[in-house]
């Protein structure tokens, strides 16, 4: 099948919150932008899934400062944040949130017009804006999508386009290759600046809260292009992911907003509140950070005090029905359709893979060590250290997207020639095919998810991590070097092959970094190395050396930026 070739100034891979924000600012700076997604534009990714909170020092609920938000972000990161990146998130956050407000995103407001800000765990004051009810992510996505569409030809949007590899020429980004899902046709894209905005890696885990397309594509693209990854061991588990009873049409992280607004009680299998037994009293408020709550819920389960399905109970039975209705209106009806009445039934929750703190190593310009190759949003590593503060993910998507778009646009002027020779081997893989199928790649993905959940989950040990590495190796052998089948119309099994190729590389990166870090910190808990070790106040850096991942330890960037008090 003939290849389609496209020329652009700035190529953005991933059309979630970060990608759309990047597209808008790159177009505003005058660049020709190509925004591609493996799925539909503005529908996949994590932003659309966000339920409620976006952290930003607006000071509408009560006085606040960028410095206070920054201090909470750094504290949550347990000593591993890149202060320069964290400062950018906090400093540029208010403008990003006001920009969305001007575009009528619909932030919840008080009657006097002030934007409402909820108090989320880890914050020293109410700081998180939201859109009711459980609609923050969809509203943000819809708003960005409408703005992107308004740019007309300045932002060319192409969905159902899967990028298999980046193309680098003499140490500089030159574009990408991939294929069109609709017909399997190879596609090459020449671009002097490229932004990876593909989100995180939660699909590596059996139970996760993100879209099916978040298998860590961007991390694998970056590694194979010669860029580095940072602190890949820090996978955030969301402590109160929905576990039972089974529900349809509800996001598993939906209980977070309930806890922000109504508190709720977290109970063990014996019906007893247990957070205070771990020195984390809640007193009906929602204050315990995600890494700590994940830890104590799993400890209770391990001690034989879990709920029937292996989690904890979450109870709102003490909350009057009228209050439930006032806070969550239509959501109460959706729960009723699933047979759940919160005035009568407790539900079961347990930790679920939610976000990745690690990611692509970038400078404060969001540039990798490959010139003109940028990252934005969750794909970036370093800004959240060992644990992300609630509410910083959408802020980060908007702020990093905006910044990466601006800088990429500046760098793209002058264009670049398409290096056909450098692209050739990568294009060969796009059109290769074994013609047959011996393994079911969809089944192999399920196997990998089980392996990661069981051996590289919230609690880790050296022997289990070693087993995980062996398991990943075995899956790689079964996957083979050549994609199954032939390029064709919406060949989902071939897509699974390419996904698993990325997922295995990223799973290995997470596991190697977890094995190497012999301490417990934030989201990384080693049962065989309990407690934080000050000597481990280091970042871990990964790069590909031939086919092998090479790990080094590096100092945490020390620069403390000046911030408005």
């Amino acid at each position: 099948m003939a290849r389609t070739h496209i020329d652009t100034d700035v190529l953005i891979i991933g059309a979630g919150g970060a990608g759309m924000a990047a597209a808008l600012s790159a177009a505003e700076a005058g660049a020709r932008v190509l925004l591609v997604d493996r799925s539909l534009i503005g529908r996949g990714g994590a932003t659309v899934m966000a339920q409620m909170t976006v952290a930003v020092a607006l000071g509408e609920e009560q006085p606040d400062s960028v410095a206070a938000h920054f201090a909470d972000t750094m504290a949550a990161g347990r000593g591993l944040c890149d202060a320069r990146l964290a400062a950018i998130v906090c400093q540029d956050g208010p403008a990003a949130i006001r920009r969305l407000d001007a575009w009528h995103v619909g932030w919840a407001r008080h009657q006097d017009g002030r934007i409402r800000q909820a108090h989320a765990p880890g914050h020293d004051r109410p700081r998180c804006v939201y859109v009711d009810f459980l609609a923050t992510g969809p509203a943000v996505s819809r708003t960005l999508r409408a703005q992107v569409q308004r740019q007309g030809n300045a932002i060319r949007r192409i969905g159902d386009l899967f990028v298999t590899d980046l193309v680098v020429n003499e140490g500089k980004a030159a574009g990408a290759v991939g294929f069109s899902l609709a017909d399997g046709r190879p596609v090459s894209i020449a671009a002097p600046a490229v932004i990876i905005a593909t989100g995180g890696l939660t699909r590596l885990y059996r139970r996760n809260s993100a879209s099916a397309n978040m298998g860590g594509d961007g991390y694998a693209l970056a590694l194979r292009a010669g860029a580095e990854l940072l602190d890949m061991e820090f996978v955030q588990f969301f402590p109160i992911g929905h576990l039972a009873p089974r529900m349809i049409g509800m996001d598993p992280i939906m209980w977070d907003p309930f806890r922000y607004k109504l508190g709720g009680r977290l109970l063990n299998g014996q019906g007893r509140e247990f957070l205070d037994e771990y020195g984390m009293p809640e007193d009906g408020r929602y204050v315990v950070t995600r890494d700590k709550a994940t830890y104590v819920i799993l400890k209770e389960v391990a001690a034989g005090r879990g709920s029937p399905s292996g989690g904890a109970w979450l109870s709102f039975r003490h909350v009057p029905e009228a209050d439930l209705r006032a806070a969550f209106g239509p959501v109460i009806d959706r729960l009723a359709a699933n047979g759940i009445d919160l005035t009568k039934n407790d539900i079961e929750v347990s930790p679920i893979a939610h976000y990745h703190m690690g990611g692509i190593r970038v400078t404060p310009e969001l540039e990798t060590r490959i010139d003109n190759l940028f990252a934005a949003g969750e794909a970036v590593g370093g800004s959240n250290g060992a644990n992300r503060l609630s509410g910083n993910a959408i802020t980060e998507a908007l702020v990093f997207g905006h910044r990466a778009g601006q800088i990429a646009a500046e760098r793209a002027s002058g264009g670049a020639a398409w290096p056909e020779a450098a692209a050739q081997s990568r294009l060969d893989l796009v059109t290769a095919g074994t013609g047959q199928q011996t393994e079911n790649p969809a089944a192999l993905i399920v196997e990998l998810q089980a392996l990661m959940a069981d051996r590289v989950g919230p609690f880790r040990t050296g022997p289990a991590l070693q087993l995980a590495l062996a398991g990943i190796d075995g899956l790689r052998t079964r996957l083979g070097d050549i994609p199954s089948g032939h390029p064709g119309s919406y060949d989902q099994s071939r897509l699974d092959w390419f996904d698993l190729r990325n997922m295995l590389l990223v799973a290995e990166a997470v596991t190697l970094a977890a094995l190497s870090r012999t301490e417990s910190r934030g989201a990384h808990q080693r049962e065989d190395h309990p407690g934080l070790d000050e000597a481990w106040t280091l970042n871990q850096n990964l790069a590909l050396d031939g086919n092998r991942l090479h790990l080094t330890r590096i100092a945490v960037p020390a620069t403390a930026p000046e911030l408005a008090a």
Partner: protein, 110 residues
């Protein structure tokens, strides 16, 4: 005795004569039709094509198909212990199996 769901699925690419294939899966209460399709892909036939991103939050709005001739989101439609007939949307151009071209025309690679 375990109950089963029988999914009769219309398959084929654009321009081909559609064919019906029958899949039996164990029924578990609280599952969606999309859960059933994902199970078939992992256990039996990974070539079965269905468009989805968000799995069960009904946020991405990508998994729209016809179940028993009614247009639904596969993630919002309850799997039942009976025969259910799954077809692609009738009003959109077929790509393959349950996947149709639902993107705006200017977001499709021409």
């Amino acid at each position: 005795m375990t109950e089963t769901s029988i999914l009769l699925i219309q398959r084929g690419r654009h321009g081909e004569i559609p064919r019906w294939e029958r899949f039996e899966i164990p029924y578990e209460p609280g599952q969606s039709v999309l859960d059933g399709i994902r199970q078939i892909r992992a256990s039996t036939d990974p070539s079965l094509a269905i468009r989805f991103s968000c799995i069960n939050a009904n946020a991405c709005k990508e998994c729209m198909i016809r179940v028993d001739a009614k247009v639904v989101y596969a993630c919002m439609c309850r799997l039942e212990p009976r025969e259910m007939r799954l077809q692609p949307l009738a009003s959109k151009k077929l790509v393959r199996d349950l996947v149709t071209e639902i993107a705006p025309p200017d977001e499709i690679l021409g």
